[in-house]
């Protein structure tokens, strides 16, 4: 079997195994898995409205997945997508609330603010990695909590002691009457267009630019990159900044599209962590991220229908996602299994 085929088979098998484990858990805990998955299916594809909402849910997952995947391709593990997304969310909402400008200025400004905030949040771990060789995983985890507490405090200040900001001005909103009408008045907004454009941007950077060539080389081998005259430190920082900007844009989708405000949070949104799953499932390629984000975004939104339609706690879907991550991460064992199966076939 070619490596390309196994590369595609590993995620597919992982998804199937994840769904099987989910079914077993439902069965053991006294639910009917067929009802459960039927409710999930209807929650995703039930009618035009749910399809619109599903696509809306996919939007931030696309950007979170791009953020994780882009860092991965440069040899960095950005667990800080969550924090970068949170600061992006705040920055976009703040710009949306604080000033009122013509839309042609206001909306891009709010989006750029989110990207910049995420980029700054990514710059810090990038700088520490480049200058002090501090592992980015721990720093980004710490940055997540710093983001959570800091934005909560800022929201309190901005709203005069409240738990959420005002709603943003319409001139900064991504809302689209056209998309809403198309999907029986779901909250689908123009963010999906931005997210898809960003998929193209990531592909372009990695596959068409000299920057992408350097980032990939640095990701594979620092020593050889340095030998070849690349500035390894600059590339590490740049990779984290770009990754953070993608994550920040993910926050803008929530601030300017779905919610149109930002509220203080007791815990994380989870989108950033799910971004890791999206990137892994998509093998860190732009096209793969579309696949991963579509799957996980759909599962997440569809799960909301499970308690109502089948009486099953929606956490079952989170369990399925966690199990899928395990299997994708343990790709070695699946590859081994596929290899043995292929050999047996040959022996016959």
């Amino acid at each position: 079997m070619s490596t390309k085929a196994t590369n595609i088979l590993v995620p597919v098998i992982s998804v199937i195994l994840g769904l099987i484990v989910g079914a077993i858990i439902m069965l053991v805990s006294g639910y009917n898995p067929i009802d459960g998955y039927a409710a999930l299916w209807n929650g995703i594809f039930g009618d035009l409205y749910t399809i619109g909402e599903t696509i809306r849910q996919i939007t931030p997952y696309l950007l979170a997945g791009l953020a994780v995947a882009f860092a991965f391709r440069s040899g960095l593990f950005n667990i800080g997508v969550e924090g970068q997304l949170i600061v992006g969310w705040f920055a976009a909402a703040y710009v949306g609330v604080a000033v009122e400008l013509p839309m042609i200025i206001h909306l891009p400004l709010a989006i750029l603010a989110a990207a910049a905030a995420g980029a700054i949040w990514g710059f810090i771990p990038g700088l520490l990695k480049a200058k002090f060789h501090v592992h980015e995983v721990i720093v980004t985890i710490m940055m997540n909590y710093i983001a959570l507490h800091t934005t909560n405090a800022l929201i309190k200040t901005v709203s005069g002691g409240g738990d959420r900001t005002e709603s943003i001005f319409a001139s900064a909103s991504l809302r689209s009457e056209f998309l809403e009408n198309l999907t029986e008045f779901s909250c689908l907004h123009f963010g999906i267009v931005i997210a898809l454009v960003m998929v193209g941007v990531m592909w372009f950077i990695l596959e068409k630019t000299t920057l992408g060539f350097e980032l990939k080389a640095v990701g594979f081998n620092h020593n050889a990159s340095q030998y070849a005259g690349m500035n390894v430190n600059k590339n590490i920082i740049l990779a984290m900044v770009i990754s953070g900007a993608f994550a920040g844009l993910g926050g803008a989708m929530e601030a300017l599209g779905t919610f149109e405000y930002v509220s203080s949070k007791a815990g994380f949104t989870g989108i950033g962590f799910d971004g890791i799953a999206v990137a892994l499932l998509g093998m860190n390629t732009p096209l793969g991220v579309i696949f991963g984000a579509t799957l996980f975004g759909s599962l997440k939104y569809g799960a909301l229908n499970m308690p109502n339609a089948a009486g099953i706690p929606l956490e079952i879907v989170e369990i399925v996602i966690a199990v899928i991550i395990f299997f994708v991460a343990s790709g070695y064992i699946i590859r081994l299994f596929l290899l043995r199966a292929a050999k047996k076939k040959e022996a016959k």
Binding site: T209, T210, L211, A217, F220, A224, Q226, G229, M230
Partner: protein, 237 residues
């Protein structure tokens, strides 16, 4: 110490006596504490690796897996590892992978690199073919000074022969070659002059036809045979 155009200077020495540090200092991978390095009379001390490369130095690194190649990259990408950003491969930051492939095919052909093609990962090639690709890449830039560090380590006789002839060809084209090797007979056979390095210093420079392996061995071990006449500066004319 100096290396002139049209000659091969071999550096003989026991591993760990400062050979790697010397190369890293010349190529900009290590900070120079004292002394100057010049190429064609132009001071290149302390330049970044990229500037050193652009100034006209080629470098076959001693560890091809650590420094020489990005093993997970296609061999074609590796062949353009220092030139990917220059015309004609790149224009305004946009890279043309067709040009990378064209160049790779030419070098694979000219240097007899046995591979399935430019898209095969460098990891999949044999050691000898990886080394040929590196040498092709470095010589193709036509550097004024080619530094070859342990260029034949771990290779079979055929590959060794091929690499030696390439170094000599480079010299015959009027370029300077600096050869670092732990193999005495390689140093003796290929070099026009031999500099002996011991404990971080060049202790003597000898001509291969006027010395023996025994004499070299003594020098390498730190026994002064003749008066030492090392200089801190090194330049290429």
């Amino acid at each position: 110490m100096d290396v002139r155009a049209g000659e091969i200077v071999g550096i003989a020495g026991i591993d760990g006596n400062g050979q790697s540090e010397l190369i890293e200092a010349i190529t900009g991978l290590r900070k120079v504490k004292s002394g100057t390095i010049s190429l064609h009379g132009k001071n290149i001390t302390g330049l970044k690796p990229r500037k050193v490369t652009e100034a006209g130095i080629g470098h076959i690194p001693q560890d091809r897996h650590k420094h020489g190649l990005v093993l997970d990259f296609p061999i074609g990408h590796n062949i353009s590892l220092q030139t990917y950003y220059q015309q004609p491969i790149s224009k305004n930051g946009i890279i043309d992978y067709n040009k990378i492939d064209e160049k790779a095919k030419a070098i694979i052909e000219a240097y007899d690199v046995r591979t399935q093609g430019p898209h095969e990962p460098a990891r999949a090639l044999s050691g000898g073919n990886q080394q040929k690709a590196i040498i092709g890449r470095e010589v193709d830039r036509n550097p004024e000074l080619l530094i070859a560090a342990l260029p034949t380590r771990g290779l079979d006789v055929g590959a060794i022969e091929f690499i030696h002839s390439r170094l000599i060809e480079q010299r015959d084209n009027g370029k300077a070659v600096l050869l670092i090797s732990f193999e005495l007979d390689e140093v003796m056979n290929v070099s026009d002059r031999i500099a002996v390095i011991h404990d971080g210093e060049i202790v003597d420079t000898v001509l291969p036809e006027e010395t023996t392996e025994q004499e070299l061995g003594l020098l390498m071990a730190g026994h002064a045979v003749r008066g030492s006449n090392h200089k801190e500066d090194q330049h290429v004319d």
